[in-house]
């Protein structure tokens, strides 16, 4: 029983990062499908959202929920600005060029952060959970599983956002336009869809989702630098490859699988402490083997390209 509680505790501990990972995965997938590029700046854009939230809560003393919304809005706007000013003008840049532009954007934002935020000069920034870190309840007696209210809040926000976005994707006109743009931008444009707006809004939504992810994530860790979301972003990309970028739901399942793998390896590490240094390497290796087995992803379809 004790052992099972220990395992469950690891599972509960992973949930906030898993929520952040799922949201980041959706953001990455959305941009991959509408703009056909891997947005490496996703992590740093969401980190800026988190910076806005924490800066105004910590330095200026506004309530966290208000600054969190402000952070999400800022990330939304940054996403739109990037699309309108960079990607719309770089329409004829090839796939590699687009990738490199997003890499360049990382450098730009990382360089900008210390000039904009006072927080970047702090020696240490405390973790910023919505509800105080020690609050929570126990299941199963004194040695049971401790669940923080933050975890439940994170899970709730993520589920609501995911359900809402998938209903919108399937049922609304906006969702139809996004799916059409994702499958073929030129034809979607011919059919009277304003693909420019769709792409811009997709970038905005991706930014906003990233900001939500970052704000959930920094409840558990501290906002050390602009690179704080790198691990989440890597997991999001891996989830995309594992689930296959062909569908919207595939990467989400991929993200869940990756984080559950983390839990399993974490449980194994309790018994074999030597492995704990190699934890992420093992997860990565398993994911790579899965990709080797299914190159198009677990839920992917073989994409046929015309020459």
């Amino acid at each position: 029983m004790q052992q099972i509680f220990a395992y469950l505790q690891i599972l509960v501990g992973v949930i906030p990062s898993m929520c952040a990972g799922i949201l980041a995965t959706f953001a990455v997938t959305l941009i991959f499908k509408t703009s056909y590029t891997t947005n490496f700046a996703q992590g740093v854009i969401s980190a800026i959202g988190a910076y806005v939230a924490v800066e105004y809560a910590l330095v200026h003393g506004y309530p966290l929920w208000a600054t969190a919304i402000a952070g999400i809005v800022v990330a939304f706007l940054i996403g739109i600005v990037i699309d309108v000013f960079v990607f719309r003008n770089g329409r004829f840049v090839n796939v590699l060029g687009k990738q490199i532009i997003t890499m360049g954007l990382i450098s730009i934002f990382i360089g900008l952060i210390p000039f904009v935020f006072k927080l970047a000069h702090y020696e240490s920034v405390p973790a910023m959970p919505f509800i105080r870190l020690t609050d929570g309840f126990r299941i199963g007696g004194d040695n049971g599983v401790f669940i923080q209210y933050n975890t439940i809040l994170a899970l709730g926000i993520t589920l609501i956002l995911l359900v809402a976005v998938f209903i919108l994707l399937q049922k609304s006109k906006w969702g139809l336009s996004v799916r059409a743009t994702a499958s073929n931008e030129t034809v979607a444009g011919m059919m009277g869809i304003n693909t420019k707006v769709i792409t811009a809004v997709s970038w905005g939504i991706a930014g906003a989702f990233g900001a939500v992810a970052a704000i959930i994530y920094i409840g558990n860790v501290t906002l050390a630098s602009g690179y704080v979301m790198t691990t989440t972003q890597i997991n999001a990309f891996l989830a995309g490859i594992l689930g296959g970028f062909a569908t919207f739901y595939g990467p989400i399942f991929g993200a869940v699988i990756i984080y559950l793998l983390n839990v399993v390896i974490g449980c194994v590490c309790i018994h074999v402490p030597i492995l704990s240094n190699w934890k992420s390497a093992i997860v990565y290796l398993i994911v790579m083997l899965l990709v080797l087995w299914k190159p198009q992803g677990l839920f992917g379809k073989k994409m046929v390209k015309k020459v």
Binding site: L96, I110, I241, S280
Partner: protein, 369 residues
């Protein structure tokens, strides 16, 4: 028969033969001068001169150290240039592979007490094995996945390395040539080794770019479908370019350990994403297809910062300014000026020759100009 004899003995002919031999010699010299290796050699000599001048006290030693460090990053960038400019792949794992090289150096030289040659072999082999695994899996799917997968690999390499041993350090006494105690390598000796290796790698890269392999990569970059139609195996050449690039990075990591001799994972940013991004920026800014462009780009990103800006308070207090500058340059170059620095220099050269021709024409008239 008679005519021939006459010709041989005639003074006119002898003069002619002399002129011809001089001409041949001149042509030979011209050929050497035009040969790409010649300019590489001149570049290497200039760098070596810096060290000599520093010994004479004319150049500060920190300036030479800055050049040495930049040369190490030049080696990384050369490999990356081959990957990005010739096979159109981007990798974000450069920093991780530099780390592999650095840790191989540390373990071989300090922990296992082996010689430098073996350290080189270990560094290259380690990079090779990881490169084959990572490259084979990611490149089998699609080219753009390489950046994603290498980003993850670099992060994991960094995590594992810093968990195993956070600070790596090589003492001067542990760095000997051929394992002979008396042949200790001082920092300035390592500087010469750096320059020599840079020179050799520049020549190798130049030859590789002009070889059938380089042509195949270039074809693949311009159109994957057309390249496949000509019988070029995408996976094979992409894998080759990737492995070459990471071997360069690994060797550079090893050289870094030999030259700087100290890396602390928790305080240094050497093994983080920012290094990979800076290398990418250097290659993009310099012009992805040119060796000189790559070297120039690296000197812009790393050299100027380390050589001059570190002396100015404003830049020391705002270390991210150079990152910001690099990022803006990358975006601008990719969007508006894909040739980068190399193209800029070419265009300036062309304009200058045109201008000088015009001036000459204006001065001496059309025919004489």
């Amino acid at each position: 028969m008679m005519i021939k004899k006459n010709k041989l003995t005639s003074p006119l002919f002898r003069e002619d033969a002399d002129r011809k031999s001089v001409e041949r010699k001149l042509r030979f010299l011209e050929k050497i001068r035009k040969h790409p290796t010649f300019s590489f050699a001149i570049f290497a000599l200039v760098l070596v001169l810096m060290q000599v001048l520093s010994k004479a006290g004319l150049v500060s030693s920190s300036f030479v150290t800055a050049i040495g460090t930049t040369v190490i990053f030049c080696i990384v960038a050369l490999g990356f240039c081959l990957l990005l400019g010739y096979s159109a792949l981007a990798s974000l794992g450069t920093a991780g592979f530099i780390g592999i090289g650095a840790y191989s150096a540390y373990y071989c030289l300090v922990e296992w007490d082996l010689s430098i040659g073996i350290a080189f072999i270990v560094a290259i082999l380690a990079a090779f094995v990881i490169g084959i695994i990572v490259g084979y899996i990611s490149l089998r799917i699609e080219g753009i996945y390489l950046a994603i997968v290498t980003l993850g690999v670099a992060q994991i390499i960094k995590e594992v390395l810093s968990a195993i041993c956070d600070t790596i350090k090589i003492k001067g006494s542990q760095l000997t040539l051929f394992g002979v105690e008396t042949m200790k390598l001082k920092t300035d000796h390592v500087f010469y080794i750096l320059i020599a290796i840079l020179f050799v790698l520049m020549v190798i890269t130049q030859n590789l770019m002009n070889s059938p392999t380089g042509r195949a990569m270039l074809a693949m970059k311009n159109s994957t479908s057309a390249a496949q139609a000509f019988g070029i195996s995408l996976l094979r050449y992409r894998l080759l370019a990737f492995i070459i690039s990471i071997i360069y990075a690994s060797v550079a990591g090893l050289l870094y350990m030999m030259y700087v001799r100290y890396v602390s994972n928790s305080s240094s940013t050497l093994f983080t994403l920012s290094t990979s991004l800076n290398i990418l920026g250097a290659v993009i800014i310099g012009g992805t297809k040119s060796i000189w462009g790559t070297i120039g780009g690296t000197f812009i990103i790393y050299g100027i910062d380390k050589m001059f800006l570190q002396d100015i308070d404003f830049f020391r207090e705002n270390p991210t300014l150079i990152t910001l500058f690099c990022g803006i340059l990358v975006v601008v170059v990719v969007m508006f000026y894909p040739g980068g620095l190399a193209q800029l220099v070419m265009e300036l050269k062309y304009k200058l020759t045109k201008l000088s021709k015009k001036i000459r024409e204006a001065r001496y008239g059309k025919d004489l100009g």
